[in-house]
Symmetry: C2
Subunit: 483 residues, 2 copies
């Protein structure tokens, strides 16, 4: 944990984003690589960020009728097979438990890759009449998908933490409203908590969750011009209810089939967070998610030590009632070392206190994202720090917003689409005929694809013609490279 | 979820405690059995209790320097083997992952049965100097042990939820203090939150956690006279540090070996909770853990409907600011049905409001544990409900306390020990020579054993002679049957 050789980011975000990202994750103490490829150890600073993401979402979920529950981490092979029969194309690569103790199991157990197939049969048991609807359960857990090849902490790992919500409703209308409620909460998380403006929409039919009627998504544009699918919220229609007998008796005693949804957000959101805001000094976090929001650093010489440290401690104590504050009064480290360390670790605001500040009854506030400093009045320090933290959030958001705005471009025709994405990255907005072949054509050329279709279905497509084949466009598509 | 045939407990706690327990768990909506033996589905009401247990403990842990983290759910076989080499006797029955996707793995992965063997190597990396100590990490997760034969929800399941804390310290003294801090927090959870008085002590050497120097425990006495090991807090000494190279440089630049601890509490605590307080009407919960603390039930006839429901809604709204309140104004159910349902579900306090209460500006409060009712003034309803909830907690605690006090008995001699436990259950307190053989002798006869040795090491043994063999006693032992 100590060891000066470890301090400081050596890679460049602009030139080597992959290596830079890995270095920030490790040196800021967010995660380490586990001995098995594809697995990571989430260290306290990383886990604290995840806990805060969880805290926000979980509160919103509960305020809107969701209960948490916990389903087994194993799913019998026969249950997964049952799902495969009804949901064509669902064949996840899973980890298989074949032995318990010294004995081989009669039936293999999959470590859950997602839990529809174990939750649906219980929903079928629990739902009898319309009075049991809506039924909403969510679980915070880890899932395993044996897919990741190269490990990229939080972005690509075989085991990842997430939440998965599963709901059942009396009608399509209710289930669709649920799908939108959750999408809205995810968007709110990105914008208000993570300071990341996002675009929302649905996936093309050929890229939706197997078994879903509609898959919606929040997409976030990374600084390197690639899009991250930041969550998904699926309207599943009646496919799972039909396969698993999720029916209910309505007010007229008629038996009806329920409509279901599922929606999830994983720690990939943390990956997007780290990648969006951090810089060549290290981690940058929005105040809402930072484990330490404010660090107070006293700067003293021998003759001022007592007055300065006392002033700093007093100030930190005042702030402590309102914010997550750390007083860094270690005497074995000089201020420069401390500044670098707290910058590396992503503390949003540094409060410097030296003899001048003591004399003037002031404190110097330094914003992490851009190093801007301001002098605040000691008497009004709590308000000043609160405003400075709001400013830090606003700066992060504004930077990400202008990056997003600058990187949504229209293109007409295959050549222009390929050229624009190839040159600038970002989103290319164009008309689309609705054929998968046109998506494939772009994918085959430059590994970009349709990441999102705006949800406003009444709106006219941005262009009359499909940007790829020139046939009539039926909607607008956003093409981008993606993580 | 509806369906009247499901309401009401039919088994007797006194005569059929096993069946009664299973019925309460299922009918109060705490858990269902999963399709695989040994696994359960934790339903919203059950999970909400666990979340509150977690909330209390997690807050105390964080207040005392513990950070949460997350380690992989899989442990390579070689890591477990390494542990086996140093910790004789550690050979847990685990679930083995042998295949990922369609491929057989080069090395089998164990689903974690506990995480010492994957956490210790990381501690070794993270700790360099005395400044990195103490290091405290905790994780809330599930673990799997392929041991349970018969499923008993929360008590015996192959997968269970728990927290496991792991810490490293500079000295034995610090590590021992840590062990005691966590034991004290568990005891506090049992007493203040769960309303269960407990006895604390250490396990005999032959029954401690493999590799531990000392295993301490909180034991709770169940109504059927058996003891539940309610948690464990281990002082591990230097066994893991020596095996995994957890060393640090001290202030004089000398390399030293750290001392470690681990401590855990599982959802077995929920099992103890349900079993201790619940009765033949169903679940009983202490107010601190009840998902719904207060249910307001309006009781009206046609002519009073509007006045009563309005009064009830207004009262519920007042309570809602302070408590977790449910207003049960369903018109398709009569009050008797509602009373039974909320009793089954363990709501600690019922507030009844009828025409009389409206007229008198009052409300009738009914305590779940004993059905006692009191009339409260509408104007002071928030205070009255707060006091009534405190009273409910106190009643639960007092009942459990008198049961415990009545069931700690002294016995001299083998025959009396066997006879006393055979007849009354509970704890038998006697002198012990320190030999495992004496524990085995009792175990072989009646499946009772030493569950706890009081911690005060200076104290004289309760008897001069070992209650089993008659040799000189070196300490006091508590024998009991246990879960």
């Amino acid at each position: 944990m100590s060891g000066e050789q470890d301090l400081g980011i050596t890679e460049s975000k602009a030139h080597n984003p992959g290596e830079w990202y890995a270095e920030v994750v490790r040196k800021a103490g967010l995660a380490d690589y586990a001995p098995m490829g594809g697995f990571i150890v989430t260290r306290p600073r990383g886990y604290a960020v995840w806990e805060r993401i969880k805290g926000h979402l979980d509160g919103w979920f509960k305020d809107t009728g969701v209960d948490n529950a916990y389903f087994p981490m194993f799913i019998p092979e026969g249950y997964l097979e049952r799902e495969k029969d009804v949901v064509e194309g669902f064949d996840p690569e899973v980890a298989w438990v074949t032995h318990g103790g010294h004995d081989e199991l009669d039936e293999r157990l999959a470590v859950r890759p997602t839990s529809e197939s174990i939750i649906a049969p219980f929903m079928a048991q629990w739902i009898r009449s319309y009075r049991d609807l809506p039924l909403r359960v969510n679980q915070w857990c880890s899932v395993v998908r044996w897919e990741a090849t190269e490990t990229k902490p939080f972005f690509r790992t075989k085991e990842f933490l997430w939440q998965e919500g599963h709901t059942a409703h009396a009608s399509e209308e209710d289930a669709w409203a649920e799908t939108m409620t959750r999408l809205g909460q995810y968007e709110r998380l990105y914008e208000e908590v993570m300071a990341i403006p996002a675009v929302t929409g649905r996936k093309p039919d050929h890229d939706k969750f197997p078994g879903a009627d509609t898959t919606t998504t929040v997409e976030a544009l990374m600084p390197d011009g690639k899009s991250v699918q930041g969550c998904t919220s699926h309207y599943l229609g009646t496919s799972f209810p039909e396969a698993f007998d999720i029916t209910y008796t309505d007010e007229d005693e008629a038996e009806r089939t329920a409509h279901t949804t599922s929606w999830g957000l994983s720690w990939r959101a943390m990956g997007a967070l780290i990648m969006t805001h951090s810089d060549d000094q290290g981690l940058v976090l929005p105040p809402a998610l930072a484990p330490t929001q404010v660090v107070v650093v006293p700067i003293w010489q021998a003759d001022t030590a007592e007055a300065v440290t006392e002033y700093a401690a007093d100030l930190a104590a005042d702030l402590d009632a309102e914010f997550r504050v750390d007083l860094d009064d270690r005497d074995e480290r000089n201020p420069g070392f401390k500044f670098n360390e707290h910058e590396l670790n992503g503390v949003p605001l540094r409060v410097e206190v030296g003899p001048n500040e003591v004399e003037e009854g002031a404190a110097t506030l330094v914003h992490r994202p851009d190093g801007e400093s301001e002098v605040a009045d000691r008497e009004a320090i709590v308000e000043a720090v609160g405003e400075a933290l709001d400013t830090v959030h606003a700066k992060l958001y504004a930077d990400a917003e202008s990056h997003l705005e600058d990187n949504v471009r229209e293109a007409h025709g295959r050549g222009e689409i390929l050229g624009t994405i190839g040159k600038h990255g970002g989103y290319v907005k164009t008309g689309w005929c609705g054929e998968e072949a046109c998506d494939d054509e772009i994918k085959d050329e430059i590994a970009a694809e349709i990441v999102m279709l705006p949800l406003e279905e009444d709106e006219e497509p941005v262009h009359e013609r499909c940007g790829v084949c020139g046939e009539e466009a039926v909607e607008t598509a956003y093409f981008a490279k993606s993580y």
